[in-house]
């Protein structure tokens, strides 16, 4: 079994068939033994239901925890979007498929949130750079990869679709390397029946802020 060069781009080992048959104790009886295996599999498949095949797409195999599928926008504990519209993902994106419009968040501690966050899934190359770049773990990837739609417009995912869609519930999250740094929740319809941005607090008057700051300083 020494590799020889013979017209192939790579080295291909030459298999000596008779030597291999001797090593594997192959004889006429082996053929019948193979039939026995086939028959045994036939009966176990038929009566025990132990089949190696699955009914795709109704059934799917489990994907890796690090599978890079369609994106998810994560939420805070109060159900509001975690994204602060910093454009890091749009900046790093090699396919330039992320479009963000930022707005002024009424809560000055948060300051910024995305008024629109669109990902053109037809343009996306699923490299996961956006997830790596995100400082808030606001964008992660799911294990979902089904993209069949009727119009091209449907492949542009807005905030609602990125935050919650049946595929996320079915497949669960995928690539999220920064989980240890920032724990983010995935929107859950059962526990959160609130609007996307409920952490909005009432417009605070600057005077009130000043007062609270003075009080805080006094207590120090």
């Amino acid at each position: 079994m020494t590799p020889v060069k013979g017209g192939y781009a790579v080295d291909v080992p030459i298999v000596n068939v008779s030597e291999r048959a001797r090593r594997e104790h192959a004889s006429v009886w082996s053929t019948f033994r193979a039939f026995a295996v086939t028959l045994r599999r036939l009966f176990t498949s038929l009566f025990k239901g132990d089949t190696p095949t699955i009914y795709y797409p109704e059934q799917t195999r489990p994907y890796s925890e690090r599978f890079r599928g369609t994106h998810i926008l994560t939420v805070r504990n109060d159900g509001s979007l975690k994204c602060v519209a910093c454009y890091m993902c749009a900046t790093i994106c090699p396919a330039e498929c992320i479009y963000i419009e930022a707005g002024e968040h009424p809560n000055p501690e948060i300051e910024k949130f995305p008024e629109r966050f669109d990902i053109d899934m037809m343009r996306c190359i699923y490299c996961g750079f956006c997830v790596d770049a995100c400082p808030e773990e606001a964008i992660i990837m799911s294990r979902e990869h089904h993209q069949s739609v009727y119009t091209r417009g449907e492949t542009i995912y807005g905030i609602e679709k990125l935050m919650a869609r049946p595929g996320i519930d079915a497949k669960g999250p995928g690539y999220r390397p920064n989980r240890a740094l920032a724990e983010a929740k995935i929107f859950d319809k059962k526990s959160q029946q609130v609007c996307p941005f409920p952490s909005v607090v009432e417009e605070r008057h600057p005077a009130v802020l000043y007062e609270s700051m003075i009080r805080r300083r006094g207590s120090e």
Partner: protein, 536 residues
């Protein structure tokens, strides 16, 4: 003229200057936050410390006047150490806001941190000082006290430049913070400049805030088209379509996001007025005219027929004082001198000040240029043209109309234009937007607006400055000088399309611009060969 040595090199410098000013002139970089050439010296940030021979301590370069035989070193280990400690001190309570901070990408803290500091914070993140965030100082400016480094540039701007004193430092020591008095918001007409001078993200513009991150922008040096002062600015516009192929959002032709002041000591120092700063929004006020209702060739045929029948003076052009010198020069050539530009009282007003700082009453950028070209002649403006048209002495006219970038066009001007169009046999309107009054014109042609064409404007004092193309004109719109070049080509004169070459032709014929070209005008403009006397 004292002689001083900086980093071993000897320089002659003017008496009374400080070290940092000399260093700036000769191109030696000294880090600074509080020093700004146009707002007075404070010496509070301690970033510009330099080593001066025979001085026991490091000296602030911004506040140390130069002296004969002074030996300055800016690159010793002692200086680097001082800058590093100053940076650590300034960043001690600085929040990690960079992802949401509008200044990020053009922040001096980021730049100097990367260049001089690079330390880890000794203060845990949760224990940093919390202060007021996103507080509106006025209609145009938002304050974030956490990000402020108390360089007091904004305070000195309102104290020394506008002299309105709205922004002050309140409290003392560690508690000091920038703020305004409760009943006096920052409402002066130059308030946007405090955003420009702020080296960090403490003051951000409400207009530009969160629109786009600055690293997506490209700056094009240009001139403000808001009034006859001609302040130098930089137009920041999109450098690449954001969001790639998402339909309807990609700003492929470019979109202007903001304008910032560009330093020109002879015109505007570093400042812009708020009206001029926001004047690029005027172009979004009406829907743009994208397609014309005729062709330049057809227009030329009609004009030729009218000229043959009624003589040269039956056809005239009405330029706009927002058109470039090049366009108006070609217009004058095609219409054989029968060109005027006056819509109202531009000529009386263009040198008159609106206030003590920059603004002037004439809201057109190129009134002086039109006058230098001799367009303020016997046609006596729009009114004169209308009267001649009503007497049937004027049969056909090309009306080039550019809306005022600041304020509204006077209703009587619009009325007068409507009457002119009604009285004319054949009227061509080249304009930028879909105006109702222009709908009745025989031919409507889309024209490139300010910021969409290259050319020169001459300001109130006769300074010729370049206005640049930052974005592409929408649809089929063309700069006026191209339309005029096409008309001239049809009448048998070949004119090059480059504004620079047209200006060379112009400088040969117009005595005021003799010997000038785009190279000598450059980024900062050049005074005309025959200076204009500024009387008011």
């Amino acid at each position: 003229m004292p002689k001083l040595t900086i980093n071993g090199q000897t320089y002659d410098a003017e008496k009374g200057k400080t070290i940092i000013q000399v260093a700036d002139e000769v191109g030696i970089q000294i880090p600074r936050y509080c020093y700004h050439p146009d707002i007075g010296i404070e010496g509070s940030c301690r970033m510009c410390l330099v080593e001066v021979a025979k001085a026991p301590k490091l000296m602030p370069a911004c506040a140390t006047p130069i002296a004969e035989g002074m030996e300055v070193r800016t690159n010793t280990e002692r200086v680097h150490e001082a800058v590093r400690y100053a940076m650590e001190f300034l960043l001690l309570h600085h929040p990690i806001d960079c992802p949401v901070c509008d200044q990020s990408g053009e922040c001096w803290l980021q730049d100097y941190y990367m260049a001089h500091a690079g330390h880890d914070s000794r203060y845990p993140l949760g224990e940093k000082e919390r202060r007021l965030k996103a507080f509106s100082l006025g209609p145009l400016v938002k304050l974030d006290q956490e990000r402020c480094i108390l360089c007091t540039r904004c305070v000195r701007f309102t104290r020394n430049v506008t002299k309105t004193n709205e922004i002050q430092v309140f409290s003392r020591g560690h508690h000091s913070e920038i703020g305004i008095f409760e009943d006096r918001p920052l409402e002066n007409p130059y308030s946007g400049n405090v955003v420009d001078v702020c080296p960090v993200g403490a003051l951000t513009s409400s207009d530009f805030r969160f629109k786009v991150r600055v690293w997506f922008l490209k700056g094009t040096p240009s001139v403000c088209g808001g009034c006859s002062t001609g302040c130098n600015n930089r137009i920041d516009h999109s450098a690449r379509p954001l969001g790639g192929g998402i339909p309807g959002y990609s700003a492929g032709d470019g979109k202007m996001y903001r304008t910032v002041g560009r330093r020109n000591v002879d015109v505007n120092k570093s400042w812009l007025c708020d009206e001029g700063r926001l004047s690029f929004h005027t172009l979004e006020r009406w829907p743009r005219l994208r397609t014309g209702t005729g062709t330049v060739a057809a227009v030329h045929e009609r004009f030729e027929a009218l000229r043959k029948e009624h003589g040269d003076s039956a056809v005239a052009g009405l330029a706009s004082a927002t058109n470039t010198n090049e366009a108006m020069f070609l217009m004058k050539k095609y219409f054989r001198g029968n060109v005027d530009f006056r819509l109202g009282k531009e000529v009386d007003l263009y040198q008159q000040r609106q206030d003590d700082l920059l603004r002037r009453l004439d809201k057109h950028p190129n009134t002086q240029g039109a006058m230098d070209l001799g367009l303020a002649g016997e046609w006596s403006g729009l009114r004169g043209m209308r009267e001649r048209a009503e007497r049937k002495q004027l049969r056909g006219a090309w009306i080039s109309f550019h809306p005022q970038l600041v304020g509204d066009d006077a209703p009587e001007i619009v009325d007068e234009l409507q009457r002119l169009i009604a009285a004319l046999e054949f009227s061509v309107v080249s304009t930028t937007h879909q105006f109702e009054w222009a709908a009745k014109a025989s031919v409507l042609l889309p024209m490139a607006a300010w910021s969409e064409e290259l050319g020169t404007y001459t300001n109130y004092a006769g300074r010729v400055q370049l206005t640049n193309r930052a974005v592409m004109p929408p649809g089929e719109a063309q700069p006026l000088h191209l339309m005029m070049a096409e008309l001239l080509l049809l009448s048998g004169v070949q004119i090059p399309h480059e504004p620079a070459v047209i200006f060379e032709l112009l400088s040969r014929e117009v005595p005021a611009y003799g010997g000038m070209d785009y190279d000598s005008i450059g980024l900062l403009g050049a005074a005309a060969a025959q200076p204009v006397e500024v009387t008011r």
